[in-house]
Symmetry: C2
Subunit: 345 residues, 2 copies
């Protein structure tokens, strides 16, 4: 089966057209399976394509000149679903003109538009935003929800666990991903009633394609000791941003330490391959591409500040989810378990 | 005024007596103002004191042989308040036999015992756990609550802001510390209703000894752009641990990068002073000493895994709070504002 083409919101993100087109072109240079529907200002997309002759036969342009602003309220953005690059990229998935959509625009607006156009999967209460985070091991860890749902009940958390496990099987190849709930301690009595009820349901459930291993504290997120970390969108957003900030804090300190004396500058130059390795491992572009799980369609959010390499990774995430049929995997797993019975609404 | 002596729970923490006594001795070597009430097994304390002749005239031993375990439930620990080293150290503050207590034991148990013995300040709904975190600037940032209260309403958050500002004035010397609420975005509409109501109250209030500057996201905690960060105990615990974990993750990566080749090993040796500087800045022992704010007495929690330097820092935090009369500062600020009027209960 050939890969369906991917709709790219060419206007979203901090740098817009240039980076989005360059990212798509980079993905295609890595693998020629990619075809694109580039949505946005035709003249600017054409200008950007001139630098990437390989893209000409592989991409179609869908013109529109309206863009969702980065600070626009989702409710306002929704009214322009049919006239904006973000809205039309998502709509292309709904209409079957593309297999998946990638956007680097406003997360809240993208979520709202995707929910409205693609609808939440039957049997599921709410979609969630999932991302891959680096660990000390070779495998990334999947964390969800990262901000799509501010408050989550036990049933939401159980469904997120099932979706996260389906995603993890694709990413890690593990038959039974190790799943944990984010909490402020590992004892059974820790955390909110919703977290405790979700843990109880996951422990009691049979037929789940995962090993539920209890709670994980936020200092263990990057240890690589589990494959999926489940949390409400508020905590997930706090944890994710705290990690990003702390990693930048340490590397900023490192940079100033390395330039504090001639001796340390020399040391830095000598050990450059080592610090490059560190930079590579921590570069958010290498882990770019958060996924809205639980919709009837694949939508990937690229970070607003991602460079072309980051956009290419987001495009590759979308391709992988299509190739491994994430939607049917989640539908199947939700059906197997029947979360109706797991946690009463 | 001479510094009142400090009660040290000599039995708490991962390593117990040896580290606690060594930490107290180290604080005293730095400054001879310190006197101690060492609470715990007399024979073991005496043995530990043999290595620190300077401590003999400066410390009294209060014998007891019961210890609160690290995983003990607070409710169970409370029943042994009169027989354990932790309980007796806190009780010494209540009885006026010591000015402050320092313990490296079980946080939940210490909080419960401190609340029961010292009681919450009049006019305050709940105490909070506050800690100093490193930033890119010379000043540390104060964050609270870090786990004493899982759920917090708007009124709690406003009171935490007032207490955090009082603490920050002592630490940074700023007349009007810059205070922010931790949130998942900086727009007014972000976050829970309680966070929004707290922000509204802090914006509207007059007579607060602080500049309230809105929301801060978790990736900015260590930037040094504000002096006090206020949050509920669940989010605070998640953020704090995520930062600790990410900092360790980066330094672990750095270590493995630096030992990945002979060249990088040499680079590491040459640049050692730089990496030592980094280690020093990130060493949690240099920021050790979380404070329970809002009680009628000073209680400082030393990290369970802190070394002697960390314990000495916790002892110095206790001394500083006594010298600068944190209790009366908080009482005064709470009285000035009358939080009754700020946010309706």
């Amino acid at each position: 089966m050939s890969l369906p083409r991917i709709a790219v919101d060419a206007m979203g993100g901090d740098e817009g057209v240039r980076v989005m087109v360059e990212g798509a072109a980079l993905a295609r240079r890595r693998h020629d399976k990619f075809k694109f529907l580039l949505v946005g200002d035709e003249a600017r997309i054409k200008a950007a394509l001139e630098n990437h002759p390989g893209m000409t036969g592989a991409s179609e342009i869908l013109h529109c000149d309206d863009v969702i602003a980065g600070d626009e309220k989702p409710s306002r953005a929704l009214r322009r679903a049919k006239t904006t690059s973000m809205g039309l990229a998502v709509d292309a998935v709904k209409q079957g003109h593309a297999g998946a959509a990638v956007s680097a625009g406003n997360t809240g607006a993208l979520m709202a538009m995707s929910k409205l156009a693609l609808r939440t999967m039957p049997g599921l209460d709410r979609p969630a935003l999932a991302a891959l985070l680096p660990t000390l091991t070779d495998d990334d860890v999947i964390m969800l929800d990262l901000g799509a749902n501010r408050d989550c009940d036990a049933r939401n958390l159980v469904q997120f666990a099932i979706m996260g496990a389906a995603y993890s099987r694709i990413v890690t190849g593990r038959e039974r991903p190790r799943v944990r709930l984010l909490n402020i301690g590992t004892e059974e009595t820790k955390g909110t009633e919703d977290i405790q009820a979700a843990a109880e349901a996951l422990r009691a459930a049979t037929g789940l394609a995962m090993d539920f291993e209890g709670y994980v504290e936020a200092d263990k997120i990057n240890r690589g000791e589990c494959d999926v970390i489940v949390c409400d969108g508020f905590s997930g957003n706090i944890a994710l941003k705290a990690i990003e900030g702390a990693a930048r804090f340490v590397t900023d300190l490192l940079r100033s330490a390395f330039t504090s004396s001639l001796r340390s500058k020399i040391g830095f130059l000598v050990s450059r391959p080592a610090t490059e390795l560190l930079r590579h491992h921590l570069d958010p572009n290498n882990h770019n591409g958060a996924v809205f799980l639980g919709l009837n369609g694949v939508v990937v959010k690229s970070h607003g500040s991602a460079n072309a390499k980051g956009v290419a990774n987001a495009v590759e995430v979308a391709a992988r989810l299509l190739e491994d049929d994430i939607l049917n995997r989640i539908r199947h797993d939700l059906g197997e378990v029947g979360t109706e019975g797991l946690v009463a609404k």
